[in-house]
Amino acid sequence: MPAATCAALLAVTAPAEVHPHVFAEARLDVVLSPDHGSVASLRHLWRFDELFSSTVLMEFDKNADLALDDAELKEVAGTIFSSLADYDYFQVVTVNGKDFHMKAPSHLMAYFDNNQLIVLFESEPVTPLKLAGKIDFGVYDPTFYTAIDFADDANMAVEGLPANCTRTVIRPDPDTAIAENQKTLTEAFFNDPMGTDMSKIFATRLELTCPPEG
């Protein structure tokens, strides 16, 4: 089979039409335990763009009054909540580079403000997450459907962070990230196409660095 045809067919068939249709301005609050020694929970707030919000309004407005009442909002929250479960609620947490597991949130709240859908939820660590070493909190949709934007570094916040810890917001530049991770990405393509590897590479993340334990 002539190589030219192969190449041409490949070029037209790679079906990766990947681009977010949905944008959310996000805020992440890392809530510390009362003694400020460990992470109690992660609070997420996503404010969706007006275009997507209008499709949500259109879709869930059962009584056709062009507004979402409490029952309709509950429906919205339930739909998003159950879908996010398949994608770890877009959370990627690592401790010293190793995956750290978070509990599924108990529920998710949705409401409309100024024609924009707002979604809130809170997730707790499965095992105690001590403030020690390097901890990264990333928020990312691995399917590229939603672009989660932290417009300002201050939107990834920790209240009462001990003085011996530092806080940085890391925004990977996609071009650099792709260049640096070409090998990993190729492996990920074969091993874990849906997985968290891409989130780790592309997600905007909050990095806390504290003195190691003990």
Partner: protein, 363 residues
């Protein structure tokens, strides 16, 4: 023709592998559970960098588009900005390859289609897609709102119908292309077989009134009508329920020497009944804000942009095929290359449908 299968099978096997690798993870359902995601997540694989770049460009355009829509709500004179951006969005949107261009290109590779006609096909399918999006949105806005059927349901239903059509169309194309050499090989040569010949039947949806153009011209009754295989996808806007019968082509046309509009329409409909989710989002915002003309013009401008890109890609695929055939010469080798490429194209359409379909159900 003896050596043909030994060459064809590896070629098909290679195509299967490549296709599985590329579309095996397509997910129709979006990660938020609202709206449909256009395709698989892929920041990885062979074309990671290029696709990522396209992805970033699309993102920029989408944002600009959203801003233009909001600006137009304040100031109607921003309409031209919106139309211009929608056109560019269409071009870039189509550059990130999706099933539409794959089906059209593969169909053109599998058939003798003059480039001029191929470009026409690209344009018609892009406009049908725009018309579907507009129809779905009007339906959602005036009919479905307040019912148990959501827009996501409607879009997903059309999407699955589209994949079913692509699969059936591919199976039929494959049979048409691979059948004769196969039968020659087996020594049996029936005049023509009936089994898979009804794949092209489509009775799908609104906005397909164009079928009138070719609905009832000559068809060989020995082909059978196979009405049980019709896909009745009636929508509330449908005004005609006798049109849309795309009968299986006359066997005389199966030789591939003459361009067959009925077959072409099947490809167009298979591609065109799936609305693009970007268009749906733009339209719902526009309609909710009373920007009727703006929304519709924006989607039409997107269709023009998409059609241009699809035409280019299809031209590329057909040119590559012609070169390959020309290089192989006029003799038996040329014929074999020709047949192999055509079977490959048909197999690709079939596999595309199958994989998209299975992925959309497993999602």
């Amino acid at each position: 023709m003896r050596p043909l299968p030994s060459r064809t099978l590896p070629a098909i096997a290679a195509i299967v592998l490549v296709t599985v690798a590329l579309v095996g993870h397509a997910h129709a359902q979006s990660s938020l559970g609202i709206g449909t995601n256009d395709a698989m997540p892929s920041g990885t694989g062979l074309f990671a960098r290029q696709l990522m770049w396209i992805n970033l460009k699309q993102q920029e355009f989408y944002r600009a588009l959203a801003d233009a829509m909001k600006a137009m709500r304040q100031d109607g004179s921003k309409l031209w900005l919106l139309i211009g951006l929608s056109f560019l969005y269409g071009i870039f949107h189509a550059a990130g390859p999706g099933h539409g261009k794959a089906v059209i290109s593969s169909y053109m590779v599998a058939n003798e289609v003059a480039l001029r006609r191929g470009i026409l096909l690209s344009f018609i399918s892009a406009f049908l897609q725009a018309a579907t999006a507009i129809a779905v949105m009007l339906l959602a806005f005036f009919v479905l709102r307040g019912t148990a059927i959501s827009m996501t349901d409607a879009a997903r239903f059309l999407e699955i119908s589209s994949y079913v059509l692509v699969t059936l169309f591919g199976a039929w194309l494959l049979w048409k292309k691979a059948g004769p050499p196969l039968r020659r090989l087996l020594g049996a040569a029936p005049a023509h077989s009936l089994s898979a010949a009804h794949a092209g039947h489509s009775h799908a949806g609104h906005a397909q009134h164009h079928h009138h153009a070719h609905a009832h011209d000559s068809h060989d009754h020995s082909c059978g009508h196979g009405h049980d295989t019709h896909h009745h996808v009636h929508a509330a806007t449908e005004v005609c329920d006798t049109c849309g019968h795309a009968h299986a082509p006359d066997p005389a046309l199966l030789s591939g020497d003459r361009f067959d509009w009925r077959t072409a329409w099947t490809a167009i409909v298979a591609v065109g009944i799936r609305p693009c989710s970007g268009a749906l989002i733009v339209l719902s915002f526009a309609f909710l804000n009373g920007l009727w003309a703006g929304g519709i013009l924006s989607v039409l401008a997107m269709a023009v942009g998409t059609a241009i890109t699809v035409s280019l890609l299809a031209t590329l695929a057909v040119t590559a095929k012609d070169w390959a055939v020309a290089l192989a010469g006029d003799g038996r080798v040329g014929n074999r290359v020709h047949t192999t490429v055509e079977i490959g194209g048909a197999a690709l359409v079939f596999l595309f449908g199958l994989l998209l379909l299975s992925a959309s159900f497993s999602a």
